[in-house]
Subunit: 318 residues, 2 copies
DNA sequence: TTGTAAGCGTTATCAC
DNA sequence: GTGATAACGCTTACAA
């Protein structure tokens, strides 16, 4: 008992005793068993769960780092898993995190089926959604102003005279859908028709994006500009443009390394991914520490995007 | 007790009873407490620790994904932390992983001071080192043939007639030191002197690498070729070359996205990072399952590098 | 096939 | 200030 107190820096123990205990522990290589501790002290396993769709994507890696940084400050450990955009798997992983009694979790939801993320299914463990919006559930989330970023970029293209603008992006997980919505809205506001043949939303990686872009470039009436809904698609499109020696306007979502070094001007809706991770962690840690019931009042953080332009003037339309 | 058995799929329970239990559990949203379970069943918290130096570095993100993939197959969870190349922090994190009774851990050691990673200090928990060599301790590790990759690249440069070759890299953590050793060896074999003014080993990120490369390019006798010890330095050097409109031979370690799209030819010692993560996880899982004492026989996996060349013929020396 | 008792390593509570 | 006792939720061993 005294050992327990000493290791916990409880003031109810003589400094001398404390020192003797610590020394003995040192000698024996003794370490308090955190498993046993968390079993007794409920609501403090000292672990936070993080579920992302693809760890190797620089985007989520940055997000993870942001989360980790903040958690590390509070001496909390991160349990990270990959959902691979699979809702089934996500459900299982969430389940496991609950069973492990993590103090909270941050999830990039794989889909719009999110019932398993509702507070009532988590035994009171707080959740924060990141990067994607909550659908039909009341939980904190931090996301990007996807709609606005897409709207801004599209509007600029229209101002520059573009009429045939292609949209290439990943399957319509929420963020991509929002970006498409911003694109459509900007076109509608300018009373421009959308050629559905110029919309391609199935590309998850660079290789498939390149194929899709090439097909678009080979159309009888190719687009004069591309709006790519994420970095994978921007890079794939760039590859296709370069291979075909095409010269149209390249625009996209997400900044990426070397974007400013391409031999084609690029305009991007950029943002601070790491900050997003930090914000998510902040929301979560606030819930954890204040022990607020999850149904308190839901907080939403929407981070802005910044339009950046690399490599000289953008090609004009028509 | 029967519940415990039913949830564990113990055959010693009537199928009917089992079904009733499972249904009730479903109804009540009951989940077995994994913390309590791991407390009783020693050596199976179902968690693996992963310590990397920088999560946001695509290199480690890929490594993490490789590890995660394999662990997920065995239904093990990953506790990931960032050491930020800080040995003190690494020591604390290792300590915490031991206290959490992880089933094993994979560590990218921050330095050469690795006593805290020796089996005797881990209470029997197996470790595998990744990416960097074990120093003065007997543990499994999986690494790259850093020496050979650097040697090959340098040799080619010499064949191409280069005499003034600059080496730019991060501080001499093991991998960088090995690469420098390979560089020196190739030069020595060709009986070429090394101009120590062309060696810069302090750059951890792209920005500082760019500065270092610019300084080298501004020397009275600038190098005719660069050998960069990692992707951060390769990219930084590329930026400096491009800004200065210099045209010398660009070579480096690590493949990276868009390397093939630069407007300068590049030669790289490339390798499969994800495979490295998988190998590390395989070694670890083997130890975990076989419950081999850590001092059994140490396994080392050395992964080869492949020289790739992008963007046409490389500039010749002299 | 099911239930009982003990114990995993810690901490809350209450005596001393 | 220190120590005994019970309890956290589970599983192993054994009895019913």
């Amino acid at each position: 008992m005294t050992v327990s107190r000493a290791l916990r820096d409880d003031p109810m123990v003589l400094p001398e005793t404390r020192d003797r205990v610590l020394e003995a522990a040192q000698q024996l290589g003794y370490r308090r068993n955190e498993l046993a501790r968390s079993l007794r002290v409920r609501g403090s396993s000292g672990m936070v769960g993080l579920l992302v769709t693809n760890l190797a994507n620089p985007f989520y890696a940055e997000l993870a780092l942001g989360v980790e940084t903040l958690c590390a400050q509070r001496d909390m450990k991160l349990v990270v898993s990959n959902t691979a955009d699979n809702v089934e798997r996500e459900r299982d992983l969430v389940d496991d995190l609950v069973a492990r009694r993590v103090d909270g979790m941050i999830v990039v939801p794989a889909g719009t089926e999110q019932r398993h993320l509702a507070p009532s299914n988590l035994g009171g463990i707080p959740v924060v959604l990141a990067a994607r919006r909550a659908v039909d559930i009341q939980v904190d989330c931090v996301m990007l102003d996807d709609y606005d970023g897409a709207h801004q970029i599209t509007s600029r293209l229209i101002e520059e005279g573009h009429r045939r603008i292609a949209f290439v992006g990943p399957p319509a997980a929420w963020t991509s859908a929002e970006r498409l919505r911003g694109f459509r809205a900007a076109m509608a506001e300018a009373r421009l028709p959308i050629d559905e043949a110029l919309l391609r939303c199935e590309q998850r990686d660079v290789a498939t994006a390149e194929v899709a872009a090439r097909e678009l470039l080979n159309l009888e009436q190719p687009p004069t500009a591309f709006f790519c809904a994420n970095s994978r698609n921007t890079i794939g499109t760039y590859r296709a443009m370069r291979a075909g020696r095409n010269r149209c306007s390249l625009n996209g979502f997400d900044d990426f390394e070397l974007a400013d070094m391409l031999d084609v001007p690029v305009r991007l809706a950029a943002y601070d991914t790491r900050a997003m991770g930090r914000h998510a962690a902040e929301l979560l840690l606030a819930r954890i520490q204040k022990r607020e019931p999850m149904d308190q009042l839901v907080r939403q953080v929407v981070l802005p995007t910044t339009i950046v332009q690399y490599g000289g003037p953008m090609p004009l339309g028509s």
